[in-house]
């Protein structure tokens, strides 16, 4: 393969036909550049959607209630629906095999006081499983545990920003703070990838909240993490079934979305999955279109340039060139141009993508980038196409009788 003399001939031929070499090089470089940018941007879109759903566990279901909008079984519309402990227990009893995590959530707004500092914060009274459902990250101490629930302990877990507000850089763990004049011990500090708002929350045991604030068994929401072994379709079905059952238990019209609704991540995942699949096919379509345009470009240039050189090939044959040596010369020339140009397009495309970085986030494009495998694959496709584009017409030209080739003008 490596024959210095042969390559010298090729370099000379390229050098003396710069325009031709540049045209075919440009075609290849441009095709690869477009391909890289396109793939990068679609990857950016995918990254954005993945990022958008990173906050909550991706197998979570969220049961929320409000007022009825449809009369049912003699009950008027406008009735306020209240979830209670029994509903959570029902889900656990009836569907334990489909549930991985479950937690109630009850909201409170309280004034927290520590020494001279005080501010209003929202409290979430929850079960221990809540940390998995919200993807809470424990920075210090621990989360609410079963013992806290059983003993109705007055303990809280505070968000990173709550700690910052009240304690600054000082130690918060083990300190006591007042929540509306009731003293609570801080047993943990957490952070959350969901952002600042999440980190201004405070968690306490659901049993404590129910005893101290209203002395009832009310809960505001139920969070469920469905068994990850469920397929997306079965998880969607599970959510729908649960919705029907709870509506029935609470005497709600089966179609009353306002009274009781379950937000099911399985459905969102299904939609995102469909969107990503659609994007993927668009990329395949447009990407292969770009490549085909590039291939046609090279083929045209090669066919034209070989036609132009028919006479030269005739002279070379009269001087003793074998057909193989002419084919090999043309193919190597085409190979050299396509690989160098393909590489340039690749480098330029990756460079532009890295320059874009996070700059297009407002257009739903986040961190656009390409896997090297795909782009190298595309480059190789073009190189092979360049080889064929050179080989086929060169083979034809090399088979022309030298006398015919010499007559060509």
């Amino acid at each position: 393969m490596f024959d210095l003399d042969a390559w010298r001939e090729i370099f000379q031929s390229i050098n003396k036909n710069k325009l031709r070499a540049m045209l075919s090089g440009f075609t290849v470089a441009f095709a690869i550049l477009l391909f890289t940018l396109l793939f990068g941007i679609v990857n950016g879109l995918q990254n954005f959607f993945t990022q958008a759903f990173v906050d909550d566990a991706d197998n979570s279901m969220f049961v929320r209630t409000w007022k009825t909008t449809k009369p049912y079984k003699g009950l008027q519309s406008g009735r306020r629906i209240q979830l209670k402990n029994e509903h959570l227990d029902y889900i656990l009893e009836e569907h334990s095999e489909k549930v991985q995590h479950i937690s109630a959530r009850k909201y409170l707004n309280v004034r927290i006081t520590y020494k001279t500092k005080q501010d209003n914060y929202s409290i979430r009274a929850v079960h221990p499983d809540h940390r998995y459902l919200e993807k809470t990250i424990i920075d210090e101490g621990r989360f609410i545990n079963q013992l806290d629930l059983n003993q109705k302990n007055k303990v809280i877990v505070i968000g990173r920003l709550v700690k910052k507000d009240l304690f600054g850089e000082r130690l918060a763990l083990g300190k006591y703070v007042n929540l509306n004049d009731i003293s609570y011990k801080i047993v943990g500090v957490f952070s959350d990838e969901g952002g600042d708002r999440e980190e201004r929350n405070v968690y306490m045991p659901i049993t404590t909240a129910q005893m101290l604030y209203g002395n009832n068994d009310y809960i505001d929401n139920i969070l469920i993490g469905y068994n990850p072994r469920l397929t997306i379709d079965r998880a969607v079905a599970f959510g729908n079934r649960l919705e029907r059952e709870l509506r029935q238990k609470l005497n709600i019209h089966p179609d009353d979305q306002s009274a009781l609704f379950i937000r099911n991540m399985a459905e969102a995942n299904k939609n995102v999955g469909q969107l990503t699949t659609a994007l993927f096919f668009i990329v395949i379509l447009v990407g292969s279109g770009t490549l085909i345009a590039g291939i046609i470009g090279i083929s045209n240039i090669m066919i034209f340039s070989i036609k132009e050189r028919t006479k030269e090939f005739g002279i070379r044959k009269a001087l003793g060139a074998k057909p193989g040596s002419i084919i090999s010369m043309v193919v190597k020339e085409s190979l050299l141009i396509t690989s160098i140009a393909g590489y340039l397009g690749l480098v330029l495309g990756t460079f532009i993508l890295s320059q874009i970085g996070d700059g297009l986030e407002e257009y739903f494009i986040y961190n656009p980038s390409v896997s090297s495998g795909i782009v190298i694959g595309a480059t190789f496709t073009l190189i092979i196409a360049g080889l064929l584009a050179g080989y086929l017409p060169a083979k034809k030209a090399a088979q022309i009788k030298p006398i015919v080739a010499l007559r060509a003008d």
Partner: protein, 235 residues
């Protein structure tokens, strides 16, 4: 060196075919200086193309250097051309993007000679045709006569058995014609077989033997004055 027996060649033209060579017999011995004369359409270029392995004959036998030429594929033909034949064309056929010395060196490249030796040999031959100082010039910087001398140097560089010249002076004025013919004569004097195709009487007369072709058949084959003189020397 070249022996042709009952050679026929026709070209298809649409549905018909044009019968160009109608049974030629010709024997050219080693060291001869022969010209083929004929008006255009007489078949002389076809004859040269067949002799030069640039084209194939239909019927008859052709022996080159004692070897029967038949069913040659392109690869074998290329090797034989490179080994036995040197071409000089009317339109020079130099490669436009190669310098004079690179053009002369090209047949050696296809022979597999190393680059240094190739360029050294090519330069020697360029000096032989008195174009040493023009070695690094491109063909379009040379005059017609100079181009043809480069082409002759290129034909000679592989030390072939036969030089085939197709109207070598067709594109040249009379002064340069003489210098090119002198060059060919000199080559012949060194013992190489030279085979010239021409339609110019003055050119043909400078060779040793004139074969006249008309409508695809040989109408005469005789020695010129110089040919007769040479023949006497050897007797």
């Amino acid at each position: 060196m070249i022996r042709i027996e009952g050679l026929h060649k026709s070209y298809p033209i649409g549905k018909d075919s044009l019968h160009v060579l109608k049974g030629l017999d010709l024997h050219i011995k080693e060291g001869e200086f022969v010209s083929i004369m004929g008006s255009s359409g007489s078949g002389k270029s076809t004859l040269l193309n067949i002799v030069g392995l640039l084209d194939e004959h239909d019927v008859g036998n052709y022996y080159l250097n004692g070897q029967l030429i038949e069913k040659l594929n392109e690869k074998k033909a290329a090797v034989l051309r490179n080994k036995f034949l040197g071409f000089v064309f009317q339109s020079f056929n130099l490669i436009s993007y190669k310098t004079a010395v690179e053009n002369v060196a090209l047949p050696l490249y296809y022979k597999g000679v190393g680059r240094k030796e190739r360029l050294k040999t090519a330069l020697e031959y360029l000096e032989k045709v008195e174009l040493g100082p023009w070695a690094e010039h491109l063909p379009n910087e040379l005059s017609g006569g100079q181009k043809q001398r480069v082409a002759i140097a290129r034909a000679l560089v592989t030390v072939p058995k036969v030089i085939l010249a197709d109207e070598p002076t067709g594109a040249l004025d009379s002064t340069t014609t003489d210098s090119v013919m002198d060059l060919l004569k000199g080559i012949n004097d060194e013992g190489m077989t030279v085979f010239v195709i021409t339609h110019e009487e003055e050119v043909a007369e400078q060779t040793d033997r004139i074969v006249r072709l008309k409508d695809g058949v040989i109408i005469s084959d005789e020695l010129t004055e110089s040919g007769k003189a040479k023949a006497k020397q050897y007797v």
